[in-house]
Symmetry: C2
Subunit: 438 residues, 2 copies
């Protein structure tokens, strides 16, 4: 991945808020999202976040000056359809990104025309960036897998296949919702270790999981694997992803076919897709723990090993209902690093997913798995933070939590920061817990 | 479910082939499929199988006499869109079925107009009946679960949750293909019990699984469960379903999150959807083995227990490449009964799937799981027929099989037959194994 002029940290935008030090969306980012004016029944359109504004590509197609090639790329975006750009791959994404960067930079001749195409983000309703086809959740967080494995198998936390297989399973697409949607606590079956029969009722161990969501760009034909060297070419961009989990439903249901209702009651995705191009300055070697075997050849490439990871800092924030009533801001309960947490790269997940011929399609979503760091305070779930529910975490207002309670708002945030590069962020991935259906 | 005049076994069609004793598609069946003339680039349209013909609903809308209500139901079908009918539920399906039955019965005044709307099935290309949203595969075949469980855990074949939880997991939608598509043998990781590391290569234990596919009609909102008493109202119809499986990839990859690449390289569905109305005369009590606990209340209804199962006879046919060259017909290698094989009803699967709030959508697919009977020759997979690969089955031409070889064509067929009712069938669910990518 080349770092081109669109990443120049000195580059500034005529959109003033994009130049603020702490914005997630400087001109170096330019993530895509699907939106309309809040409260309107406008058609959805694709927009690009810039500072606290959105460049509405429906308006921008009409108002701006674009070459025929760019106009052809913008037309489906103007109709709210991101998948054609996803399917077209980097050779389409890069010139479009360069043109948008040019149009939004300070001194651009397009300023007057495009200023009328901005919508304040605060006045926008953001939905899923695209209709998500198939969703697969992986388990690349080795510290998470180890910590959770220890609760079930103290002597043997990591199963033998973990070193070799990028463990993953198919998830539920229909219940993926964009940030801001409430999540209803599920009812389900759970069985205590000494009980003779399960009981049905609201989950008492509702949890979150900090993940990255990898959105697929170009697909592959059924029956045609994707070589590891080409795998990253099938990646469009990255979002934040909260894989809400019911920890009491999961252990009872998951043998032998894996998690099901403990996961499919709702999954939250951040609405802005940060493209591979925006992430180019923030690539890193994968920090695989020492002593692990090399991947099998179909998963190995030097290039992938050398800078296949994303140096993304992850943060988890919690605001309880009581905090909201008291006017207290959300509190950060954990941080971790995606580069440090993961055992496999996105390219390896893609190559593995397709190695038997399974076809990936534009708009498919791969979850990274929970990205916990090695330290207890770097945990990516309440299950880990509370040591399986045994040790409550204490909040500044005196409340305690082992798992999530009704009214809790859980928010993921993330950013990339590195010397010589402009900081970029991902926006929010947030949801509030509603009480179970009675 | 009421049995109305459309099931009268004396009812005959002006389509002569529909009156033959052994047709799968008498006028009492009327399944829906999505098709066009083979070799054409016509738009897809929905058709109804009748004898060896298809009533093309695109043509029938234009040529036939229909009330305004029926024309409104037919319009999306004429455009190849089945989901609006699926979403509309039984209150739309029943009058449409009655009208199609009237139009196709011997003596109908519509005969002359609609005779021009028939296409020979042999000249049609059939595709998936609809774009399948989410696909979930269940594990309701208790004889299959017991037989396979015995191979892994001789003393404890059924896990404790089997009695209580309709075990299921999310599957891969993108690789579901209609009958007639070849299936490429997957490459993947496998590890022998004494090997120190896995190897990557073509699956050597390629298998099939005999299942029913339940297509969802009306959906539910995210967060809103479906009560068991209403669950069958969310079912549109039933297909045959072959969940191709790689038995050497599966044991190595499936812990702790379930089967993944061992299942997602391809799944075959029969293209004709047999509606709940067509199945009404063939309902049966669920033959749950004695001594099992009653389901929890959210899964219990007397009505469901009394006739929640489908009395469908299942057949598996195999034709090897050598048999094809010799001109030998396919040989039937197993038979079983869906009513006898299943531990949970379709209504229970739906109620369970939605009990935590997961939203089902029109066109979602639920696999029943492998429907083996209690006897060895009633097995629904090669894994069972060959006792885990230990005992080859011998074919009439002297060939032997423990698992599937390249060039093998595996075909599922099914029918319903009962005194006082007209036999109906499901057509074919067929696929031929291609060699792995080298």
């Amino acid at each position: 991945m080349t770092v081109d002029g669109t990443h120049d940290p000195a580059l500034r935008s005529w959109v003033v808020s994009a130049n603020e030090a702490d914005t997630d969306f400087p001109i170096q980012n330019l993530p895509f999202g699907r939106l309309r004016r809040a409260g309107s029944s406008d058609a959805w359109r694709i927009g690009v976040a810039i500072g606290d504004q959105v460049l509405d590509l429906h308006a921008a197609l009409a108002q701006g000056q674009w070459s025929a090639e760019l106009a052809a790329l913008l037309q489906p975006l103007a109709r709210g359809e991101l998948k054609s750009l996803m399917a077209a791959g980097a050779s389409a994404r890069r010139p479009l990104r360069a043109a948008l960067s040019d149009a939004l930079r300070a001194g651009s001749s397009q300023r007057d025309a495009l200023a009328a195409c901005l919508l304040p983000q605060a006045q926008c309703e953001l939905t899923l960036p695209c209709a998500i086809g198939d969703y697969t959740d992986f388990y690349t967080g080795i510290h998470h897998a180890t910590a959770v494995g220890k609760m079930f198998r103290p002597d043997n936390p990591l199963l033998p296949n973990y070193d070799w297989v990028p463990i993953g399973y198919h998830g539920r697409s229909s219940s993926i919702v964009p940030s801001g949607n409430a999540i209803r606590r599920p009812n389900g079956q759970a069985k205590g270790p000494s009980a003779s029969a399960p009981v049905f009722g609201p989950s008492e161990r509702l949890d979150y999981e900090v993940e990255l969501g990898f959105l697929i760009g170009p697909g592959n034909e059924l029956g045609t694997p994707i070589p590891i060297a080409q795998a990253e070419g099938h990646l469009f961009g990255v979002t934040l992803f909260n894989d809400w989990s019911a920890r009491d439903i999961q252990p009872w249901e998951y043998q032998p076919l894996g998690p099901f209702l403990s996961k499919n009651f709702g999954t939250t995705i951040s609405p802005w897709v940060v493209t591979l191009e925006a992430l180019a300055p923030f690539r890193a070697p994968l920090q695989r723990p020492a002593g692990r075997p090399d991947p099998l050849p179909y998963l190995h490439s030097e290039n992938n090993r050398a800078h296949g990871a994303f140096d993304i800092q992850l943060e988890t924030w919690l605001q309880t209902a009581a905090m909201r009533e008291e006017g207290a801001a959300a509190v950060r309960i954990a941080t971790s690093s995606a580069a440090e947490a993961g055992f496999w790269t996105a390219a390896q997940l893609i190559a593995h997913h397709a190695c038997g011929g399974c076809n990936l399609q534009p708009g498919d979503l791969l979850g990274s798995g929970t990205l916990s760091g090695p330290a207890p305070e770097q945990a990516g779930s309440m299950l880990e933070l509370s040591a399986g529910g045994k040790k409550a975490i204490r909040l500044p207002n005196g409340e305690e939590r082992t798992f999530l309670r009704d009214g809790d708002t859980l928010t993921l945030r993330a950013y990339c920061e590195r010397a010589g590069a402009r900081r970029i962020g991902f926006g929010e991935c947030s949801g509030t817990v509603l009480p179970a259906v009675s």
